[in-house]
């Protein structure tokens, strides 16, 4: 046992080990990467991107009187791009289309419209955020605005300004296609429920169904995977996002009915009150001139049934 020959050169071995590590690492990044090349295209109706492009082309830039020198909007116009915190994985709201390389959806179109309104060109830079990082990125001004199915809550309103609400959703329940016996939140008693860390859903589930075992993941992709792989019995999140998942993955479904109101706001830095007024005025404008309704019809409306809802009252 102690008679080993030591000190032999093992260069080829080290190289092989490095190669193995690389293979392991790359295999892994493939499974958890947020951008999924070759992901299945949305089943059924596809979002009409040309209608949205037309909307953006028609959006008139704000008059100079609305953006006095020194205001946040004027500074963004000077910079030439609107830096938006968002995601590439929320179907219907903000999802990367691998065939075009563009991020499409309700939130993504809103950010382009806002950029057009401020700068005159729909130039946005997307910074990926998670539910846990949004406040921090706004606080240190890494992003100008966060448009990412961002539910307005009292706690969050202490850390950031919210313009809007621009959309109201409710919590929904997502199941695998073959699952039975879960029709409402009460049916989740004692079951494993997955949701995004930092989302409002975890707190709601904890309060309404204390016996449910909560499994937190950082992204929608990971939660969806946990559900599809059978690690979780249900996935609770805003129904719009879940409907988007069901559109891209035929093996999951959404239970009818929503719980509570999730008003989405545009997150803005707390120390820029002028920008909140500016964005609120703009939201009122696009809701009044029909832009909002057209946008809804071509994004969320492709998966969520029913007529175009009335946009929520701003402020």
């Amino acid at each position: 046992m102690l008679s080993t020959v030591r000190g032999r050169r093992r260069a080829p071995l080290a190289a092989a080990a490095a190669a193995a590590a690389l293979v392991l690492a790359s295999a892994c990044s493939g499974s958890s990467d947020t951008v999924v090349p070759g992901a299945p295209a949305a089943a059924g109706k596809k979002a009409d991107t040309s209608a949205i492009d037309r909307l953006i082309a028609d959006e008139k830039p704000a008059s100079a009187s609305l953006m006095p020198a020194g205001s946040t909007a004027a500074k963004i116009k000077e910079a030439g791009t609107l830096v938006v915190g968002g995601t590439q994985t929320a179907a219907l709201f903000s999802q990367l289309d691998p065939t075009t390389g563009k991020v499409e959806g309700f939130d993504a179109a809103l950010s382009r419209l806002l950029a057009k309104y401020i700068i005159g060109k729909p130039d946005t830079k997307l910074v990926n955020v998670t539910a846990a990082t949004r406040e921090a990125l706004l606080k240190n001004h890494s992003v100008d605005a966060v448009i990412a199915t961002y539910t307005i809550t009292d706690e969050r309103a202490k850390a950031v300004n919210f313009a809007g609400p621009y959309y109201v959703d409710g919590l929904g329940i997502q199941l695998r296609e073959d699952q039975k016996g879960i029709a409402s939140l009460d049916d989740l008693k004692g079951r494993t429920v997955t949701t995004q860390s930092g989302s409002t859903a975890a707190a709601v589930v904890e309060e309404r169904v204390p016996s449910a075992k909560i499994q937190l993941f950082d992204t929608n992709t990971e939660c969806l995977q946990a559900l599809r792989q059978g690690r979780a019995d249900a996935y609770v999140l805003d129904q719009g996002v879940l409907a988007g998942n069901a559109g891209t993955h035929p093996d999951v479904k959404v239970v009818a009915g929503t719980y509570g109101e999730q008003p989405y706001g545009i997150g803005l830095p707390l120390d820029r009150p002028d920008f909140k007024t500016f964005v609120n005025d703009w939201l009122r404008k696009i809701e009044a001139d029909g832009t909002w309704a057209t946008l809804w019809k071509n994004t969320i409306g492709t998966q969520v049934p029913g007529p175009v809802p009335t946009p929520p009252a701003i402020g």
Partner: protein
């Protein structure tokens, strides 16, 4: 502050799960790591090669990457079992690589002359191990093993990133989400971890003194 006083059970339960997770991980790592260490110093060349390859490959992968590979990768090929034990498997296999090297270093710290002398005195292979090599090797590895156990406990918090929300860090994240008081909640979690590692450090010091031989 009331966040902490009104939820002592959350921290207690989280701490318990963290302990459970760390203990299971360390036991698995010890079993696999010892086996690997034996392979690395045995005279059979293929076994030596295998263990060396294992250590260099596994040690070169970040733990979070390995965890994600196990939690989200394995189900792709049809291997699904409880999340907790999936995480224990990944962590155990990871720390085994480190444990193997620690044990090997301990064995190497016993001068070969002693083994030769013991054999010359007529001790059997088992006696050489039991009376000469293992006691001395164990003494040399008490502190490195304690450091390893500390690393296992602290890094068990990575389990929260792959859905084991019941452990201490995961529970703290949940609590923070509800009350948005990161300063108090995470400071309390940090205190729990410090207490755990202090306890491990003290135990190691006592053990080392017990095992010490006055020369």
């Amino acid at each position: 502050m009331h966040v902490l006083t009104s939820h002592p059970g959350v921290f207690a339960h989280g701490l318990l799960v963290t302990l459970h997770l760390s203990a299971a991980t360390f036991l698995l790592a010890a079993a696999v790591g010892l086996l690997l260490a034996v392979c690395r110093i045995c005279p059979v060349r293929p076994l030596r090669l295998f263990a060396a390859l294992y250590v260099s490959a596994v040690r070169g992968v970040p733990l979070l990457v390995l965890l994600t590979l196990f939690v989200f990768g394995l189900p792709e090929i049809g291997v699904v079992y409880s999340l907790f034990w999936t995480v224990v498997t990944a962590m155990g296999l990871y720390w085994a690589a480190f444990l193997c090297e620690t044990v090997r270093a301990g064995v190497r710290s016993v001068p070969p002359g002693q083994t030769e002398a013991a054999r010359a005195l007529g001790l059997t292979f088992g006696q050489v191990l039991r009376c000469v090599v293992v006691p001395q090797a164990l003494r040399a590895t008490v502190q490195p093993l304690a450091s390893l156990l500390i690393a296992v406990v602290l890094n068990s918090s990575l389990a929260a990133a792959v859905g084991v929300t019941q452990e201490l860090t995961g529970q703290t994240v949940l609590l923070d989400q509800r009350y948005a008081q990161p300063l108090f909640t995470f400071a309390a979690a940090a205190a729990c971890y410090v207490l755990l590692t202090l306890a491990i450090g003290r135990t190691a010091a006592v053990l080392e003194r017990r095992l010490a031989v006055l020369r």
